[in-house]
Amino acid sequence: MLSDQVTTAELHPSAPLTECETGIYHTFCPISCVAWLYQRVEDSFFLVIGTKTCGYFLQNALGVMIFAEPRYAMAELEEGDISAQFNDYHELRRLCVQIQQDRHPSVIVWIGTCTTEIIKMDLEGMAPTLQAEIGIPIVVARANGLDYAFTQGEDTVLAAMAQRCPDWTPDRTATQSTSSPPLVIFGSVPATVVSQLTFELQRQKVEVTGWLPSARYADLPAVGEDVYACGVNPFLSRTAITLMRRRRCKMIGSPFPIGPDGTRAWIEKICHVFGLETTGLAERERQVWSQLEDYLSLVRGKSAFLMGDNLLEISLARFLIRCGMIVHEVGIPYMDARFQAAELHLLMRTCEAAHVPMPRIVTKPDNFYQVQRMRDVQPDLAITGMAHANPLEARGTGTKWSVELTFWQLHGFASAKDLLELVTRPLRRTH
């Protein structure tokens, strides 16, 4: 992993320069990933092992979902758990048996939190024993606020699931009648986006053999030495590393399919790796852009400031610049310059083509300083967390909650319009 002290430029001479601030910024706790993951993996149950603080966060952040009998719960640690008066294993077994009886999930995902880290609860050690005892797979992901921010929670879960994927066997390839090598796409996106992106690749004669995560736990894709893997979200660096190092997959490093430009670059890169000529992609992209003209005329020449909280920022900034905006600053919690290399490269090319300066990229930003910088540059649009949205609006800066972008569909050609619709909202508002 990249240490914060090393700038990306030292690592990759061609990469843009990044700065690192104090890390006092607002973001969601990574356990929030259960909110979307339990919906994507339909037969799962997520058990967050933590304190009242974690529980109250989920309850408030997830709003109305909490009333829909979600397939997640807190294992709330009490004083006796902290001081080891109770036996962790017996406590967890009691709760997991209850979940098994009430909900019959195919997999229970344990989410480790800050507290389990500090009291050094050996979740990875207990899971295999308990799994054997009660006969249901238990996946352990340490999605805690000591180490990670917001969407990185998904990364820890998918990295853990990657270990559970079955092995790819050559005889399985024999039954496949496709020309392209096996390809697994990783990243959790809504079912409609899964079928859209699969469909786009199909048009280029690329067969997707599986998605991580799959809609059902039993359908996790097979991975192995012959399998290519490609990510759809910029925050999945641990999953990428697990697939490469532990499962021996071949990684396709590409920009992410966010915005029509990103989608095209993503498809082209996959086809390029497979030695396939793409057909009609340029036309497809041009068509999408032409349909966006109403929105583009709104954003052209306007400026944006991304405070940074969900790691989608580089891709979003690249898309906004391609739309004709000027981006002053891209805050981002953490930047894996290797996993994001292709995306960073596309960002630089996009800036060159648009004749605009590269935005300042700030990892571990400091919200207080950012607000001061924003006062200087007066952006038309700030993409920010909900803690700052209303105060910034009250100071005359149009804002878009970044959280909405995390939960909404961003990927593929067909989502571009909705993405711009969201982003341009504060600009369209009449005063």
Partner: protein
């Protein structure tokens, strides 16, 4: 360990943050991992606060685990002292950081000599108390911290104000209708000729605390927070307090009676004036007494309801329902377990059953067992009501953004009696209306709407859908599916697709404006229901 899906009261540090953000010019520093600063989100969203929430985290990360966080905490205190120049910096541990057992008190002691602000470490025990208890305790701690040194030196001005005056203690940020309650109570006291000495903590400031002892008496409108402060002021300065909640006509009258009694001990007799005041307000200002006599209310007589909420609201609303409206409360309950004895004493004799629990499933089970005509509870009970088809009026925190209204909606005082009467009546009325509609076969227009829609769909029956396309359609949320279907079919006809396949769907989505209003704003919002 316990399996938990929902909790009525938050963790203790939230109570500390609520004290800090309620005061003017107080900054809180929380010793917490990344992502624990969601209080700022709640404050910004629910209160729609225009200012940045005065809460900063001193982040606990791996580095801190290895080396300790002294430097970081001290630096953050100094930084905030310079940046915001607050009167007080309140440092609080969180659940996680309390396990680290770092000596935060020592860090505060090291930072304090070099700051212009007062610096104080909040005394909370995360695994023993929750948000509401912490609020009470920390407010007292702040008041004591400011007043005690001066009291000991004898420099504190304790001369009572020339005219009768009171401190209002216990209004907080994110409190249930606290903003309007505070306004209404001030109005009531103004009418009674009582000056407001201070309001704490919401709207108050640290310099104000030096004046606290000048008040004739203190008013603690809510049971949950403020009592400890009132008791401290009573012990140290012999200032009496009133801890009655003026919700409903009877309690408001008693509340005024208690004020009168306190004034009498100081030789001020306002008996006649207050009698007239009460009669005027009960007949002219408040409609509640008349409402209770009106034909509408006769229909509510003996209806069975369940009340659940915090101590203050559950107890007072129960008494109001029984004594003022003749409604039959089959069960009253609270999640404030720590205050069980008080609650039992309050509602004893008015209800059939008392329920003390922090477990929402137990409340839900009780509701489904007793099948009341209406529920008065929190957001959780509202959702239970939805599931069981029982109307629910929200009378207590935890609440969503709907209970932070823009309009003036107090629960306290005479305007409060009107607001509460509306709430009760509307809750019953809606339930009755639904029931009657069902009885008479539902809305006529519903069927017309449906058949029109069916027609418009069948108009485009030239379109065939491939199985994959139909599967794709099934992913679309139910409440917009037919809309999307029609838009896609229109697109297919215009662009000459004989069969609607995946390509057609995606191109249609890309070109037609999919109704963006259907985005579910799931966060901090309760407008839409998850399918």
């Amino acid at each position: 360990m316990k399996l938990a899906y929902w909790m009525y009261a938050g963790p203790a540090h939230l109570g500390v943050l609520r004290v800090a953000s309620s005061f003017k010019n107080v900054h809180a520093i929380m010793h917490a991992p990344l992502g624990d600063d969601y209080f700022n989100v709640m404050s910004s969203m629910l209160e729609r606060d225009r200012d940045f929430t005065p809460v900063t985290a001193s982040i606990v990360d791996r580095h801190v685990l290895a080396t300790g966080s002294q430097r970081k905490v001290v630096a953050t205190i100094h930084r905030k002292d310079q940046e915001d120049e607050p009167d007080l910096i309140l440092v609080t541990p969180t659940c996680t950081s309390s396990i680290l057992q770092e000596d935060l008190g020592n860090y505060v002691a090291r930072a304090a000599p070099y700051t212009k602000s007062e610096v104080l470490l909040a005394d909370v025990q995360h695994y023993r108390i929750h948000e509401l208890q912490a609020q009470d305790r920390i407010l007292e701690q702040v008041v004591r911290h400011i007043m005690d040194p001066e009291r000991q030196k004898g420099t504190l001005d304790t001369t009572p104000t020339p005219t009768p005056s009171a401190n209002l203690i216990g209004f907080f940020d994110l409190g249930f209708h606290h903003r309007d309650d505070s306004r209404e109570l001030r109005r009531l006291l103004h009418g009674l000729g009582i000056e407001i000495n201070s309001v704490l903590p919401k709207g108050g400031s640290i310099p104000d605390l030096h004046q606290l002892a000048k008040a004739w008496f203190n008013i603690i409108p809510y049971r949950e927070a403020g009592l400890m402060t009132a008791k401290y002021l009573e012990e140290s300065f012999h200032i009496p307090y009133i801890d009655r909640t003026p919700i409903g006509l009877i309690e408001t009258r008693k509340f005024i009676g208690e004020i009168e009694a306190i004034l009498q001990t100081r030789g001020v007799d306002r008996h006649e004036y207050y009698e007239k005041f009460i009669i005027h307000h009960e007949t002219i200002v408040s409609q509640a007494a008349w409402f209770a006599r009106s034909i509408d209310c006769q229909n509510l007589l003996g209806k069975r309801v369940i009340v659940f909420g915090d101590c203050t609201h559950a107890a007072t609303i129960t008494k109001l329902l029984v004594r003022e409206l003749g409604i039959h409360v089959v069960c009253a309950g609270t999640y404030c377990k720590y205050d069980e004895a008080w609650f039992r004493e309050q509602v004893n004799g008015y209800v059939d059953e008392i329920l003390i629990t922090e477990d929402h499933t137990q409340v839900a089970d009780t509701i489904s067992r007793l099948e009341p005509a209406a529920i008065f509870g929190t957001q959780m009970e509202r959702h239970v009501g939805k599931r069981l088809d029982i109307p629910c009026g929200v009378i207590s925190a935890p609440a969503h953004i709907q209970n932070f209204p823009l309009s003036f909606r107090p629960f306290l005082g005479y305007e409060g009696t009107n607001v509460v009467a509306d709430l009760i009546y509307n809750t019953f009325r809606l339930g009755m209306e639904d029931h009657l509609l069902e009885l008479f076969g539902g809305h006529d227009t519903k069927q017309i709407g449906e058949s029109q829609m069916a027609e418009s769909i069948s108009n485009s029956k030239g379109c065939q859908w491939t199985p994959e396309a139909e599967k794709e359609l099934a992913h679309i949320p139910r409440f917009v599916r037919s809309k999307v279907k029609r838009a896609t079919e229109r697109f297919a006809q215009e662009h000459g697709y004989p069969v609607i396949n995946l390509e057609c769907i995606y191109l249609a989505k890309q070109s037609t404006s999919v109704d963006i209003e259907t985005i579910q704003h799931l966060l901090f919002n309760d407008e839409t229901e998850v399918q």
